[in-house]
């Protein structure tokens, strides 16, 4: 646990030692601002719902940007060997890095809170669904980040990690829109695996246990695969 936290702290600091964190957060905030507020003023409703619907699409780009470096860069530079030959388990490495990426996403999300307070000034805003929506976003974001970390653990090249994570994130987000092209017996499965259906209730500010279970299982599976991928160096 102690080593996991030490690795997490280092990674988190590393984000802010490089331009990554600032770029990701700034561009995320600007895009949310533009894409959310322009339609907001043309409609007569005080709600964060459009933001919660929009953010998962932005995550498709931002989560891979956050995670692409995590393992790939350490493998390229050889620091992974320095790290793992200390008394550190492969699990600690994966978990520490993952927690740091979730931390950065949480910071980015927390910085959108002023938007909620801003629109609350225009009329009564029900904060119940807002907190629910944020929790849903954090869960979905956690799933994207786990996928991104998995992609990063498969290669030494950050760009490859980014593109693979982008593709997979897009696939999981959109796949349920294409079920009509699939044989009927597959549709319910694909629909279940896609993020779309699980995001629906979160957008409305509701937290459904089944969706929580889905996202958390998704995270666990991705992290487990990332762990296996890191560990596979031993047997090659």
């Amino acid at each position: 646990m102690r080593t996991t936290m030490a690795i997490c702290r280092r990674e988190f600091k590393a984000y802010f030692n490089s331009p990554v964190a600032y770029f990701v957060i700034a561009i995320f905030l600007v895009m949310v601002g533009v894409l959310f507020f322009i339609p907001f003023f043309s409609q007569d409703r005080v709600s964060m719902r459009d933001f919660f619907g929009l953010a998962p699409f932005l995550f498709v780009f931002f989560a891979p940007a956050i995670t692409m470096r995590l393992v790939a860069e350490e493998r390229r530079s050889g620091t992974i060997e320095m790290l793992i030959t200390m008394p550190v388990r492969d699990v600690d490495v994966i978990l520490g890095k993952y927690m740091a990426s979730v931390g950065l996403l949480a910071v980015a999300l927390a910085l959108t809170l002023p938007y909620a307070f801003t629109i609350a000034a225009f009329g009564p805003l029900d904060f119940g669904p807002v907190w629910g929506g944020y929790l849903g976003l954090l869960l979905a974001g956690a799933a994207y980040l786990a996928l991104g970390l998995l992609a990063s653990s498969l290669t030494e090249n950050q760009i490859v990690a980014f593109v693979v994570a982008l593709f997979l994130s897009m696939l999981f987000l959109m796949v349920d829109k294409f079920t009509i092209f699939l044989p009927a017996f597959l549709s319910p499965w694909v629909e279940y695996l896609g993020f779309g259906k699980h995001l629906d209730s979160a957008v409305r500010g509701l937290i459904d246990t089944r969706d929580v279970v889905f996202f958390l299982s998704f995270v666990v599976i991705c992290l487990f695969l990332a762990f296996r991928s890191l560990e596979s160096r031993r047997w090659r």
Partner: protein, 327 residues
């Protein structure tokens, strides 16, 4: 814990990458308080051995115990007891030296109250005082190497594994690191991988040479020089009547001679003879007498000590043949 005298024990270690045998049934032991020079040409299997000792990769077969612990059973226990400096010392270049060492101390589980002392010690020993607050990316190769060394020593490990610690350093820095390795080797077990022979002679009490994944020599530099090297005599004779065979026979009888090679020199009327003998004796007088006894005309006679470098070259250039002769 009782003192374990054999710190590293490697038995029949084999590692295959696909079809390539990187290590082939390598066995050796290292006692406490020894600096072991691990020699071999590039690609011989030195780094692979170190990666296995540090439990970074698993062997294909064989038994390895470090500090009495089995690598497959207690990799974390082993890593706690050893410090490792990789070749080229990769570091987190976005961190400051002090910050980085602090991180290493945290991961190594050094208690908060002992941390400052541990940090101060390695900063002092590795001469990092002036660069403590600099970002690692701005440091020269020599300083990075020292930061890597500080990283490997921060927890005062009983075993140090150093993979080419002096590569890329200037002569002054090389001398400093060698001094440091020597002083570390007084109480600790140090494995020093290198392809630099002077380095081994300057620091190591024992040498292992590996070539194409096989162990081809094991002993102190002096032992290797006397057993595998010895002395070589270059003799030039005026072409004798009995031909080359007679020459071989004449010198072969001399006491202390281990082998004789003779061949027409090509200069016309001369024969070049190479006589191999023991390093500790000087056989020049006997060779001269043997020549006189047989009526051979001696045109030249010289003695050369065969040093570690020639041994290394002989063992690591002949494909595979050297490996077979070793065991």
């Amino acid at each position: 814990m009782t003192a374990i005298e054999t710190m590293i024990e490697v038995k029949n270690l084999t590692k295959r990458y696909g079809n390539v045998r990187a290590l082939d049934a390598v066995s050796f032991e290292v006692p406490r308080g020894q600096v072991l020079g691990f020699l071999g040409p590039n690609g011989a299997g030195k780094t692979t051995t170190m990666k296995i000792l540090t439990c970074f990769i698993a062997p294909t077969s064989g038994e390895v115990r470090v500090a009495g612990l089995d690598i497959s059973e207690d990799p974390l226990g082993i890593r706690r007891r050893l410090g490792y400096l990789q070749e080229t010392a990769p570091l987190y270049v976005d961190m400051r030296v002090r910050e980085y060492l602090d991180f290493v101390a945290d991961v190594r589980g050094i208690a908060v109250d002992a941390k400052d002392k541990a940090l101060a010690r390695v900063v002092e020993v590795c001469g990092l005082g002036d660069v403590r607050d600099k970002e690692i990316r701005t440091l020269s190769k020599g300083f990075r190497q020292r930061v890597g060394l500080a990283q490997a020593m921060i927890h005062d490990p009983s075993i140090l594994i150093l993979d080419e610690p002096t590569s890329g350093l200037d002569p002054n820095q090389i001398a400093e690191i060698r001094e440091l390795v020597k002083s570390l080797g007084r109480e600790r077990t140090v494995i020093l991988s290198t392809h630099n022979l002077t380095e081994v002679q300057a620091t190591a009490g024992r040498v292992i040479i590996i070539h194409q994944g096989k162990l081809v020599a094991d002993g102190s530099p002096e032992e290797l020089e006397s057993s595998r090297g010895g002395a070589r005599y270059d003799v030039v004779l005026a072409a004798p009547g009995g031909g080359v065979a007679a020459v071989k026979e004449a010198f072969g009888r001399v006491e202390g001679v281990r082998g004789v090679d003779a061949a027409e020199s090509g200069r016309g009327g001369e024969v070049d003879v190479t006589v191999h003998g023991d390093a500790r004796e000087d056989l020049r007088a006997q060779i001269f007498k043997a020549a006189v006894d047989k009526g051979l005309v001696l045109l030249g006679l010289g003695r050369k000590q065969v040093d570690l470098e020639s041994i290394f070259r002989r063992l690591t250039t002949a494909d595979g043949a050297a490996g077979k002769e070793a065991h």
